[in-house]
């Protein structure tokens, strides 16, 4: 999958900018923005959580990205496929199923504590449709990668953003255009489920 930056941790994160200690603020603010958060120790716990969520939402089709960059994630996707669920991870397959899939699984680079946002590297087309078109978006992120605020987040982005597509995702898609009543899932997902993995690198 094409990315703005191959390795955000080594190329973009400056010294002292990214700290696990900002996690609590992130969690509070992301929840306030209607995201659901599941913090897990490692990918095997993450896999169990994901399976639970798949049980709950019972998708007919899944599209998923991020396996190419992380072998543990790839492993999980393979097992989902073996279990008999329809999961598409190749970009042409994702293209074909982009409008019919009901769950999209993707990854984020880091979390922003101040706002409860995920910073996403969405250079590739498949990453964007995976996170935007299905009703549910499940995101894997490293629970240790949290920055304090938007100022630091933009500094980090500025270091590597030379071309492409990056952004913040903060909760699900929402609108208040009818009588200022908050409604979720207007164009993008109506659920944003974050699986934050403590030991993200270990299995790489």
């Amino acid at each position: 999958m094409e990315k703005v930056c191959r390795d955000w941790a080594s190329q973009a994160f400056g010294k002292g900018m990214v700290k696990a200690e900002y996690w609590d603020d992130f969690e509070v603010n992301a929840k306030a923005a209607a995201a659901e958060i599941f913090r897990v120790k490692d990918f095997s716990e993450g896999e169990a959580k994901l399976n639970e969520l798949l049980q709950e939402y019972a998708p007919k089709e899944i599209i998923a990205v991020g396996g190419d960059e992380n072998s543990a994630i790839k492993n999980i996707y393979d097992k989902i496929a073996q279990s008999g669920r329809k999961i598409y991870t190749g970009k042409y397959d994702i293209y074909e199923h982009r409008d019919s899939a009901d769950i999209g699984i993707s990854t984020a680079e880091f979390c922003v504590a101040e706002t409860g946002s995920l910073c996403v590297d969405n250079y590739s087309y498949e990453a964007r449709v995976t996170s935007m078109l299905p009703f549910v978006n499940i995101v894997f992120v490293n629970a240790n990668y949290v920055v304090k605020d938007v100022t630091v987040a933009c500094k980090i982005i500025g270091k590597v953003f030379n071309k492409g597509y990056v952004g913040f995702v903060t909760g699900p898609s929402r609108t208040a255009d009818i009588e200022r009543v908050l409604s979720l899932g207007v164009h993008g997902p109506n659920k944003l489920l974050i699986i934050a993995v403590e030991d993200f690198e270990g299995v790489r």
Binding site: I157, Y165, S183
Partner: protein, 722 residues
């Protein structure tokens, strides 16, 4: 544009119960929700960072634009600089033709609304759809957005459902909002998937790498920039910023002020052509770089960038919070402003983009209360820019005929003024007077007393009382205070002026009254006639030079602001008068802050316990113009026998605002009624003010509503307890 009847349009909006309900509810909730989103942040520091960054950007706008363009070209984007709306339309149609574009989706862009972009597609048989839910409904209704962030805030769910029915050709129940949302999702999803071209605006454009930023909640901008094979960006020069990290300075304020969120659901930065997959003409799925075209829109912006006053409009990030707190906007809504941008900033942007002529009428709808200046993330002095635009307009077209004649004849000639007032009064006053108020005026003046009583004209103006009062001046005065009364305090509230003198004398001050003083000039400066304003200023400066006082004091905040600040700015090109103005301005003081200072010095500022309830109304010019709001409260606190209770929205404009309250009484009276309700709710026996215009308005409102609540100037309250 056809001649409009603004008053009639306003009447109609005031009778629109749906809109009134929505706006008043919103106005009530907004300030608290906004503050909540800033919890833990230093708002002032964030505002200053944004202001400074944008201010700096506009100083180098040509360089930034060159860099932005070069960055984009390097990355393979086509860049086009458009002089005006027509150039944009021609260019976009050309792209559509070249690329066989049949279907277009748009995410919200005020710039495209500004130039009425959508009009051009119909002629060429190109289907265009707005994808922001509010904009989509508005487009179906064939209306203009009434708010920059919430375009459909003036509609209720049933009216929205009608728009759905019109578009989808089946019944849509208005009760069920979630159902409507899903219908929109389904319908618009197909539009996204089938579109050849996506058009977006930009919340910012970054010079160093050519990225544009898009802030949305629905995520429609992400789809518009992802699914179609062509991406067109329409961006105004004012959106350019130097670096990626500068985006943070916008992003930390825009969502908080705009929608009371720490961050919107989606913040997207797109830099150059990004990857896209689509089926080519032969039905084969291909992956390529998307074609990207960026159009930099001028339409008056570059001209404004060169002007030190107008360039401040570049600090605007279109959060619309200035509308949310504007006492006029929240009453009349966005449509009466006549163009796509509404509110005070709307009058400015319209003036800059569409020419100063279109600005004139809507500028009336800013009463200079300065509420917006306290929350604008870019710290734009909206009413000051409006003043400047008015003055440019007057330079071009001359002052509105009546205003000028009336001013020269009446306000500049005090003797004449009083005679005229008494005469008008004698028609009106005698039969209709009740106590100190006129409750009704006959015939053509009837409008003025609808909803408020007017105070009677003092039979003995203050100027005729001066000789008697000055006999009580102390023999060894601490200071010599020259009193500037202003029109109201001379002719209407002469008793209050007398109380001002008494309080000052009690503090050991000698009070003198230069009899040649005129009106402060605000009424004529307010309509933009600086030439006439200068004549008045000279007259006053000369009159006060003669008495050689230590302090020049006024008990009217609007006069004080004019004497203290505006006079300083009137003589930029006249060194002699500039020096004289400086000497004059440096002595000008506002009554309550001066008295509070003297109270402190003399040990009179001590808390006194309990008594009759009084409440205090902050005049706009007093609180936000002069920054004085603690002193009057401290003085009330030090006054024996009274106890201060705060009212809800104590600093919200009472609706008088100079001549506005008379000219647009249909807007002024609802504002007054709200104020009266808030005062009543405190259970206070007296409403204290520090401004004669508020005193007239609030006093009139409390009388008309027969509340039995008194209105007093702070000088009256203090003098009573001497």
């Amino acid at each position: 544009m056809a001649e409009r009847n603004l008053k009639q349009e306003i009447q109609k909006k005031l009778k629109d119960d749906v809109m009134q309900g929505a706006l008043s509810k919103f106005a009530e909730q907004y300030p608290g929700s906004r503050l909540n989103a800033y919890k833990g942040q230093d708002i002032e520091e964030l505002r200053e960072e944004l202001r400074a960054m944008k201010h700096d950007a506009v100083q180098h706008i040509d360089q930034l634009a060159d860099d932005f363009e070069a960055s984009l070209r390097k990355r393979g984007t086509e860049v086009f600089r458009a002089k005006d709306g027509q150039a944009v339309k021609d260019y976009i149609i050309k792209i559509c033709k070249e690329n066989g574009v049949k279907r277009v989706v748009k995410s919200k862009s005020m710039a495209s609304e500004e130039i009425h972009l959508n009009e051009c597609f119909g002629e060429h048989d190109i289907r265009v759809k707005e994808t922001d839910l509010g904009e989509w409904m508005i487009a179906i209704a064939g209306e203009r957005p009434s708010h920059m962030v919430m375009p459909a805030i003036h509609m209720n769910r049933y009216q929205c459902a009608e728009m759905f029915e019109q578009e989808l050709h089946h019944e849509v129940p208005g009760e069920d909002i979630p159902n409507m949302i899903q219908l929109a999702r389904k319908n618009l999803r197909q539009e996204f998937l089938q579109a050849d071209m996506g058009i977006t605006g930009a919340n910012f454009g970054i010079a160093e790498n050519g990225a544009i930023g898009l802030v949305t909640n629905e995520g429609n901008a992400r789809l518009v920039t992802t699914l179609p094979r062509i991406h067109v960006v329409l961006i105004g020069y004012e959106k350019l910023i130097p670096k990626t990290e500068d985006a943070a300075k916008i992003l930390r304020l825009l969502p908080r002020n705009g929608t009371c969120q720490r961050m919107t659901s989606y913040m997207t930065m797109v830099d150059g052509p990004t990857r896209v997959m689509y089926k080519d003409a032969g039905g084969k799925v291909v992956e390529t770089d998307r074609k990207q075209y960026v159009i930099l829109l001028d339409n008056g912006r570059l001209e404004a960038a060169k002007d030190p006053v107008f360039q401040q409009a570049y600090q605007c990030v279109r959060c619309a919070s200035c509308l949310n707190v504007c006492p006029i906007w929240t009453l009349v809504g966005g449509h009466v402003y006549g163009h796509v941008y509404s509110g005070g900033i709307g009058a400015i942007l319209t003036g800059l983009f569409n020419g100063v002529d279109t600005f004139a009428q809507f500028s009336d709808l800013c009463i200079g209360c300065r509420k917006c200046t306290t929350i604008c993330p870019g710290k734009i002095p909206i009413p000051d820019i409006i003043d400047e635009l008015r003055s440019r307009y007057v330079q071009k077209h001359g002052a509105p005929g009546m205003d000028k004649t009336m001013f020269n004849m009446v306000l500049n000639d005090r003797g004449m003024f009083h005679k005229l007032l008494l005469k008008a009064g004698s028609i009106g006053q005698a039969p209709f007077k009740k106590g100190k108020f006129i409750r009704h005026l006959p015939l053509f003046m009837e409008e003025m007393t609808k909803g408020r009583s007017l105070p009677t004209i003092a039979s003995e103006p203050f100027r005729d009382r001066v000789e008697r009062l000055s006999r009580k001046n102390p023999s060894k005065p601490k200071k010599r205070v020259a009193y500037f009364s202003g029109c109201n305090m001379d002719f209407v509230f002469a008793d209050t002026s007398e109380n001002v003198v008494k309080v000052l004398q009690s503090l050991g001050m000698e009070v003198v009254y230069p009899i040649e003083q005129a009106c402060c000039g605000k009424p004529i400066l307010g309509v933009g006639d600086r030439e006439a304003g200068r004549e008045t200023a000279k007259k006053n400066i000369a009159a006060f030079e003669k008495v050689n006082a230590d302090v020049i004091l006024s008990a009217c905040p609007t006069c004080t602001e004019t004497l203290h600040e505006t006079y300083m700015k009137l003589f930029e090109n006249d060194p002699e008068w500039k020096a004289r103005a400086r000497a004059f301005c440096s002595k000008v003081r506002e009554f309550s802050s001066f008295v509070a200072e003297e109270y402190k010095k003399t040990g009179r500022m001590v808390h006194t316990k309990g008594g009759e309830k009084v409440t205090y109304h902050d005049s706009c010019h007093m609180k936000r113009g002069l920054g004085i709001y603690e002193e009057p409260r401290a003085l009330i606190d030090a006054t024996p026998g009274v106890e201060l209770v705060e009212m809800h929205n104590c600093d919200k404009c009472c609706g008088m605002a100079g001549s506005f309250g008379m000219k647009y009484q249909e807007v002024s009276i609802p504002m007054l009624n709200e104020k009266v309700d808030n005062i009543k709710a405190t259970g206070a026996a007296t409403a204290v003010v520090a401004c004669p215009a508020c005193m007239m308005q609030i006093g009139g409102g409390l009388d008309k509503a027969e509340t039995g609540i008194q209105t007093k100037h702070i000088a009256d309250l203090l003098a009573e307890k001497l």
